[in-house]
Symmetry: C2
Subunit: 286 residues, 2 copies
């Protein structure tokens, strides 16, 4: 595995591979890798000749009041995990290598960016879209892999790719969970032991709602109410939103169908955690 920090060096090194007809898979991450990230890398390894994993804690996607400076980092452990998972080149640019000049350009995807996470994080997805677009331009991947935990991000990137005619297949991969069902997230490290134990209530509440769907319930409002009721059982959990939406358009739906996604965001201690399921499919057991 090659370690590269200079964007131009990465571009040049990929030119030859592309000329040789090799397919390139991209896994953009912010590091502090867990089994969720590794599942993306492994899928990319299975589907491409060359896999580029990027680790870049993107300042553009953090608001001033957010956790940019404290976001967990462990580049040494990340490196060995990337190598194990089959990464061909690990790209870890410094801020000044990604942005040598003041950045004036930004990409926004309206409608999709202003709902759900966008309500409390109004500039977040523009920061994501801008950097993902830049990574697409640097790497020129055939396929790029994103976790379904960030469901809204995944839809926004898919829409950006369609609208701007990027030639990359955006592949969403299933959420990877701990034994008690909690979706893996680099931010889970913010949880105290007590909070970590309580956090399992999030997938449990989603699973409970899915149980209702399996028994025939189709009314979104009743499902929302049941999830809220479950989450309110713990005083450590503060609900940000529970929404039942069309999985592509992210528009609220009143009745559940095959495209329906249930998304939740809660605060547990200092951590803000998100999770989601397809209402008919429920928690994946991967």
């Amino acid at each position: 595995m090659e370690l590269i920090t200079d964007p131009a060096e990465l571009q040049n090194s990929l030119d030859q591979m592309r000329a040789d007809g090799k397919s390139i898979g991209l896994v953009p991450t912010m590091g502090f890798l867990h089994r969720g990230h590794l599942s993306l890398i492994k899928r990319a390894v299975a589907e491409n000749d060359v896999v580029i994993t990027t680790i870049f804690v993107n300042p553009l996607q953090f608001a001033a009041n957010e956790d940019l400076s404290t976001y967990p980092r462990d580049i040494e452990k990340d490196s060995s995990l990337c190598l194990e998972a089959g990464t061909t080149k690990l790209f870890t640019p410094a801020n000044e290598e990604m942005f040598c000049d003041t950045v004036l350009t930004s990409i926004s995807v309206t409608v999709l960016s202003s709902v759900l996470e966008g309500i409390t994080r109004p500039t977040h997805f523009s920061g994501v879209a801008t950097v993902v677009s830049k990574l697409f331009n640097i790497v020129g991947p055939c396929r790029s892999y994103f976790g379904e935990k960030d469901w809204q991000q995944l839809q926004i990137i898919k829409k950006m790719v369609t609208d701007l005619s990027y030639r990359v297949e955006v592949i969403g991969c299933p959420i990877i969970r701990d034994d008690d069902g909690l979706a893996l997230s680099s931010r889970n490290v913010y949880l105290s032991d007590d909070e970590r134990e309580v956090a399992a209530i999030i997938p449990q509440a989603l699973h409970y709602a899915h149980g209702k769907v399996k028994s025939g319930e189709r009314q979104s409002q009743l499902l929302k109410d049941s999830i809220i009721e479950q989450l309110q059982k713990s005083s450590l959990v503060s609900i940000d939103y529970v929404e039942v939406v069309n999985g592509d358009s992210l528009e609220p739906v009143t009745t559940v169908d095959a495209q329906t996604r249930i998304l939740v965001a809660v605060r547990v201690g200092s951590a803000r955690l998100i999770d989601n399921i397809n209402a008919l499919v429920g928690i994946n057991t991967a």
Copy 2:
């Protein structure tokens, strides 16, 4: 010369050429071609193995009160001019081929987009940047050619390319002028005979200011005043702006140096006309 209207067909047809190591030059236009456009195509032909000229009257860059519906079109004449100038493939997508779905994505380049033209056309450059980015993604050019008449547009596209790490060299080409100095523009067709005759006052005023610079004048305000005075000699001319700025940052400067650009926008009848010079170099005589 091949005529293509389907973006996917263009992408696929260029893949083979790229694999064969051919360099690709892109000339994005809105059609109704004049010698200015042809100079871009000819330069692209001289510098690349393959030249893609695009004709697309981009709806995203017109505000509701602007001339989208009346923008001049003549695809038959354009075709034969493109062929003559050496275009390899002429890309003329219909609106619904470029945008099969509602476009939610937009690219903005702040600061550079809000001054000069941006004051009266606040959404214009976002529409330009979005479509140029899409054309870059469809064509994947090594070089792309833009006229210096749209000086502000050229700086915005250069900045977008840097910020988003697009792998394309953006090449600005000198303004092409009529015998009396008027910068060629598809919109000159809006001028009546009287207005057309009067419009030559624009390059004359710029030339007059350059004369002052040549004689040693370096104060921007005095140059602005002299241009305004010249333009006000005709009652058919209404001044939108006269600005003396740094050619890259577009920030106003008080003293002229080698980077100084003088930009003007005026209305003559129903036409809005723009022009610009490097203060030290003056009107190019190409």
